[in-house]
Symmetry: C2
Subunit: 421 residues, 2 copies
């Protein structure tokens, strides 16, 4: 039992992704190159993810006071994923990307989600870097985004706070300019941030050389108060470890501290964190930075992305892809359940069919898949999971349409996506 | 927020259980005595169950090679439940019972299931003892059932085997007469059993002085083969520790060995076991028993209940009550979830209502129960849980009707129960 025939059917027989090779952006692609990507994803998922799904569930991340300890398997899985090139699947060839259609990228990622949803792949890192490619300065792209695509750094999205989950207009993280010359920092206008961010996936670990947090925060007005509403929200790049303009670590730890690990139901292998920004746990002082919030280096160094007050709009860039990615994780968890159910139903003998004279206890038991009601339940699972996968790949196809079709068709795809995601 | 007003409404305003006091069997009862029972259950559930629900979830039962270790809280909860008299709530007053209507017993047990479904109360012990009261000999009732009602012994129901879950016609546990004089054992015809029983709740623990297993097994025919089908199933009393005709432990351990603990999703505090009967781990030899299956004492000693071949029929005695009890556990788990949701929704501030001009970020956040869609979800929870509780208490009322109403009404109640359970 393999997922591949289902994926092939959806991609090639239904969505016709092989025809995307006719478009300029995908001119180097064909069914052969798509198949090669799917082969790679399927193989890595089989070798580096599936065998360790149970392990990461039982060996949850834990914090020893300095580091978050994860199983070696999680590191091996991350390294294999990064080495596959999937982190930059959608990027331009001239920065090392594959220029792959998003539909094929999404299909490839389905194999990882099915093998182990809680080891996870690179969705947040890719989303983070994509955002910087769209809204960052050339140097921010080079220093942060490109190192994320290469797997050297990983990324987070820091939106929620303990008192502000769905209500992002209430974020209370403050960002103030970091002293003289802050405006002219080559990495972007430099601020000091202070606040708490909750439910941050991959917020602390040793899988990569550095972690690039994208943080929503508010810049206080002249009265010292934070502007109310979502229009007061700005977006900052807050690296866990400070870097120079070459992207090299300076050796200075930024003032971002792990305050606790959250355990997510069904996602035990995931590192989900509460992060304290700027509480002074790791003071940042010396040349090139200001005195800090307390004059002694407190405050997380953050670089403004784009314009102040536009943070939420930037953060919701590529939200359709993010929604498809999250939906795909849920779908593939269900698909893994369907395949496990199917396997069990094909192997577990129990009971006998009703014949004309009732059940004949002399006969051997049958596999439970032969019972009509078990078959009905399996077909319901199959319909839900394969239907959901089809829906997600259809939406992914609309994303490609939006980006590469003729203007009229592109706009129609965009409108349909707004409804579907 | 308390469950009690809901239970009172269902019992007294809707089901009119106070009128049951007019019937001969319940003549000593009135709303006052029912209230006293409910008060006791509510108090014990609050003091001995609810505070330890999280504890029993994190400190799962474990086997140290000799004993199953449970938290002290589980022992305290069992002792308090046994001391309450609820184990013999339905029994005749002359054997120490309360002669309580089943409807009130079921309502009382709802408090325990809500406080901690996985600490559990005495459902299996009560079911086991009830079965012996209906189908056992006077001595079996006295030695086994009465000690279960008193909480000195606990009981199990051993039906499933690894290869026979729903298909009980395939049970492969064998029972053979235990040598000369086996037929004349005062505790019932004595057999030696051998086989494996799976998913046995409360199958091994130190909560009580002894554990009384009720075991489905087959007696081989003259050809040495087990009779096919459910008609070949017999029922045996297999005590963990052998007892004399006074119900005192003889000091001899029966040949029943724990082979493994199962961890039940959502019921971590429960001790669920795989038991090996008669494999020779605890040989039983000496005066009063036969030589055993291997001539050296292997084989679990079991006493036949009623007639051979009638085991499944006996086991399904009071199946309606068992179904109501299992349904009640699920319902009250849901009810606990509803109460937790309600409490959270009343205390968590998040977001603002939409006014004529949209949301006003200057206003403080509101409690999430004030959002219409959250209220809708809470009402759905309330409707499901309180509706299910009403259905179960209605069925329990039909059980009382079946047992104490005039013949015509009793038979109608029985028929309706067949449909509803």
């Amino acid at each position: 039992m393999s997922l591949r025939p289902t994926v092939d059917f959806l991609l090639y027989d239904w969505l016709g992704v092989q025809t995307l090779g006719e478009r300029a952006r995908f001119a180097d692609h064909s069914r052969e190159t798509f198949d090669a990507v799917l082969d790679t994803c399927e193989r890595i998922a089989r070798e580096k993810y599936a065998p360790f799904n149970r392990l990461v569930d039982t060996q949850e991340p834990h914090f020893d006071g300095e580091r978050v300890i994860l199983p070696q398997a999680t590191k091996d899985a991350w390294d294999a994923y990064a080495a596959s090139g999937m982190l930059s699947a959608a990027q331009d060839a001239d920065i090392g990307g594959m220029q792959l259609p998003y539909t094929v990228e999404a299909a490839g990622n389905a194999f990882f989600a099915m093998a182990s949803v809680s080891i996870g792949a690179g969705m947040l890192t890719v989303g983070n870097a994509n955002l910087l490619m769209a809204h960052g300065t050339p140097l921010q792209r080079e220093v942060f985004a490109l190192n994320e695509f290469a797997g050297r750094f990983s990324g987070t999205m820091c939106l929620s706070e303990p008192q502000a989950g769905s209500s992002l207009s209430d974020v209370a993280t403050r960002a103030v300019p970091d002293g003289e010359g802050a405006e002219a920092d080559p990495l972007g206008p430099r601020y000091r941030l202070r606040g708490n961010k909750m439910w941050i996936s991959a917020g602390e670990h040793e899988l990569t050389e550095n972690i690039i947090h994208l943080v929503l925060a508010k810049i206080p007005g002249p009265d010292g108060k934070l502007p109310p509403g979502v229009k007061g929200i700005s977006l900052f790049i807050v690296p866990k470890k400070l870097v120079d303009t070459q992207g090299q670590l300076t050796g200075v730890r930024n003032d971002v501290a792990l305050a606790g690990l959250n355990h997510k139901c069904g996602w035990r292998g995931t590192t989900n964190t509460l992060l304290n920004f700027g509480e002074g746990r790791f003071p940042v002082q010396g040349p090139g930075v200001g005195a800090g919030l307390d004059g002694q280096g407190a405050g997380a160094i953050g670089y403004l992305v784009g314009e102040a007050g536009q943070g939420l709009r930037y953060m919701f860039h590529m939200m359709n892809e993010a929604r498809i990615g999250v939906g795909m994780a849920a779908t593939m968890l269900g698909m893994a359940g369907y395949h496990a159910s199917l396997d069990y139903a094909r192997n577990r003998p129990q009971g006998r069919p009703l014949g004309a004279g009732g059940k004949d206890p002399i006969q051997p038991q049958v596999r439970i898949i032969e019972h009509a009601d078990v078959k009905r339940m399996l077909l319901a699972q199959k319909a839900y999971c394969e239907g959901a996968l089809a829906m997600e790949l259809y939406c992914a196809r609309l994303v490609d349409e939006q980006h590469t079709a003729e203007p009229l068709a592109a706009d129609e795809a965009r409108l349909l996506l707004e409804v579907l995601t």
